[in-house]
């Protein structure tokens, strides 16, 4: 283990996997010479050359489908979509092609594409550069959807995603890019399992299910709540599709209260699925309403961003509200 940053951990994961398997390559806008818009591939072009670190014209649909074709011929593409908002241009590729190629063609193909993209606010980049759209992908059979909260996790999860034979939507968070933390060294080769949640903090009064940046806000909330004698358990889903029902349900069986927190707009976000599954499968365990934390139902705002993106305070309120409303 060593200290690094989230963005370097992404680079290391890609580099280690490219070292390990010559079929792994990276493709996207400005990933090559420039080392990526957020610097995720800095140095990879110099090391692996233009064949394996592929700069593209501005054409998200085209290069994502190209990756699908390359994957079905045995390569293992990592596609970078510069901002998650731009994935709207590649939805046909991801949803009608990548997600379906294996199943639709009778399992003849494996399509090991990883589509990386950073989501969320934090840069005051406004309505078309701040969205969190993971719930869309989680609704599409054939895809896996991964979200990483720390340097350690992003490295281990990205390595796992690259090695996975299924298509993976790999969601980073722009505010986390600069985050410092420990991550595994190359020779440790830590590969985290997809579909497995991580209990980031043990607690007994309420379960906070969350992912990505909101893991940190939830942990901050837990510290605030602790002052008031409330013990929160923080479950980082890490994979949204398929999500780890056992870890979540076990936690709720212990705390009997559930809050789901994400940065995406609250309505129809992934919190809805977690809450609905709880209402369907473990209703008897719930002693209080399931509260959800998410962004307000509006596009992201340039100058009101700090009020727009959900924070620890919002998590605290949700927890208190579920406690107050205990049945």
């Amino acid at each position: 283990m060593k200290e690094t940053r989230y963005i370097f951990a992404i680079k290391e994961a890609m580099e280690e996997e490219m070292d390990r398997d010559e079929n792994v390559f990276l493709i996207g806008e400005d990933v090559g010479l420039a080392g990526g818009s957020f610097g995720a591939s800095k140095g990879l072009y110099e090391k692996f050359g233009p064949e394996r670190v592929v700069d593209t014209p501005i054409s998200e649909l085209g290069f994502t489908s190209l990756a699908a074709g390359a994957a079905s011929c045995g390569l293992r593409p990592i596609v970078e979509i510069m901002f998650m908002d731009f994935v709207t241009c590649a939805m046909d590729s991801i949803v009608n092609q990548i997600a379906k190629m294996r199943y639709m063609f009778g399992n003849q193909y494996t399509v090991p594409v990883v589509v990386r993209m950073p989501e969320g606010g934090g840069l005051n980049a406004g309505p078309q550069h701040s969205q969190c759209l993971e719930a869309w992908f989680a609704h599409v059979p054939g895809l896996k959807v991964v979200m990483a909260a720390t340097p350690h996790d992003v490295k281990g999860l990205l390595k796992a995603s690259i090695r996975d034979d299924n298509p993976v939507i790999f969601i980073e968070n722009k505010t986390l890019h600069a985050m410092k933390g420990m991550a595994a060294e190359a020779d440790e080769d830590v590969v985290l399992p997809l579909g497995k949640a991580d209990v980031k903090l043990q607690g007994s009064d309420v379960t906070i299910v969350t992912a990505s940046r909101m893991v940190h806000e939830s942990l901050k909330a837990a510290r605030i709540l602790e002052q008031e004698g409330i013990s929160a358990e923080v479950v980082d889903l890490m994979t949204i599709q398929p999500w780890d029902r056992k870890t979540v349900f076990d936690s709720v069986a212990k705390t009997h209260r559930l809050v789901v927190a994400h940065e995406a707009v609250k309505q129809f976000g992934f919190g809805a699925e977690i809450a609905a599954a709880a209402a369907e499968e473990i209703l008897d365990e719930l002693d209080a309403p399931v509260m959800r934390v998410g962004a307000p139902f509006a596009p992201a705002s340039y100058s009101l961003e700090k009020y727009y993106v959900p924070s620890a305070d919002d998590v605290v309120s949700a927890v208190k509200s579920t406690l107050e409303r205990t049945l």
Binding site: F25, E51, R52, V54, T56, P57, S59, L61, G62, F63, S65, L66, A67, A68, G69, A70, A71, S72, C73, G74, L75, D92, S93, N96, Q97, M101, R102, Y103, M104, F105, G106, N107, Q108, Y109, T110, P141, G142, K144, D164, D165, N166
Partner: protein, 312 residues
């Protein structure tokens, strides 16, 4: 080789005539888009390809799958929705695929297959093989951004591929003039500095032009575009009465038959005799009928198989 062309064209025609029949009888469900009248292009182009070369095709792609060498029995089983089909009966006519011989799959999304073929070409280049990829599509598909983005990338990276456009003058129920401000798809290629030729629906002419393009790709000289000017005999799908088109135009199209024309040439050139042609047609008919019977006898997938293999 000429006999090969002829046999292949007849095979494609027979497969689709049989499909129309079983479809009309309700034996197969869904949408069926036949390419009758357009058999020359797949027969000619695929003659340059081997099992390592990839093609992506469209909703109107039976001919390409057959010409690329798909096993007709299992293709037929797929169209019947049977588990012995190439896609386990999950997908039918619009998604015929055989990974073993580079049939990357028909695509129900217009233009969807074009960048996928570019991906196969990219993989060939990446692995430093001499394989090539062929994207097939109609002139209507050239309206989609996917076509543009794939052409642009292929030109920039000099991908080993051929863009093959069957310009049959119609996209669903509307004529070319609704879709293109230019007469020929070759004009589209100017935007990317990709060499392009337009040929008529004659198998030998197509074969020669395609040979040029495939050789160019194999040698690492980059992509080409090939337009085949052809006619769609039947409607967009089987059951489409083509009212929008007018009886005369339909008859005009049907008067042009790449198979009949080629037969006449073969006989005139003394390559084959009338009775050779008859024999070939009979053999192919038997082969296709066998496939239909095979498909009939296959079994439907069980509901328990619904989720099988969705994830590896």
């Amino acid at each position: 080789m000429l006999t090969g062309f002829y046999t292949m064209m007849v095979r494609i025609r027979k497969v689709e005539e049989n499909l129309m029949e079983v479809f009309s009888r309700g034996e197969i469900p869904g949408f069926l888009h036949v390419s009758i009248g357009q058999e020359a292009a797949p027969a000619a182009v695929c003659a340059h390809l081997n099992a390592n070369d990839c093609i992506s095709t469209t909703h109107r792609g039976h001919g390409w799958a057959v010409a690329k060498g798909i096993e007709i029995r299992r293709a037929m089983a797929e169209l019947f929705g049977k588990r012995e089909g190439f896609c386990l009966g999950r997908s039918g006519s619009m998604h015929l695929a055989d990974a073993g011989i580079g049939i990357m799959g028909a695509n129900g999304i217009v233009g969807g297959g074009i960048p996928i073929a570019a991906g196969a070409a990219f993989a060939a280049q990446y692995k430093k093989t001499d394989h090539v990829a062929v994207a097939t599509f109609g002139e209507g598909a050239t309206g989609e951004g996917a076509f543009h983005e794939a052409m642009n990338f292929a030109a920039i990276r000099r991908l080993p591929m051929v863009f093959v456009c069957e310009n049959n003058g119609w996209a669903e129920f509307s004529p070319k003039s609704v879709h293109m401000p230019v007469e020929s798809v070759t004009s589209r290629a100017l935007a990317y500095d990709i060499p392009a030729v337009s040929v008529s629906n004659k198998v030998v002419e197509i074969y020669e032009a395609a040979g040029e393009a495939v050789r160019r790709a194999r040698k690492g000289k980059g992509p080409s575009l090939l337009e085949i000017r052809c006619d769609r005999w039947y409607g967009h799908y089987v059951g489409d009465a083509q009212k929008y088109r007018g009886k005369e135009k339909v008859e005009e199209a049907m008067a042009k038959d790449c198979i009949a024309d080629f037969e006449a040439e073969l006989i005139k050139g003394k390559v084959l005799r009338r009775k050779d042609l008859d024999r070939i047609r009979a053999e192919v008919s038997a082969e296709v009928e066998d496939a239909v019977n095979f498909a009939r006898q296959c079994t439907y997938p069980d509901v328990s198989e619904m989720l099988e293999g969705l994830y590896v």
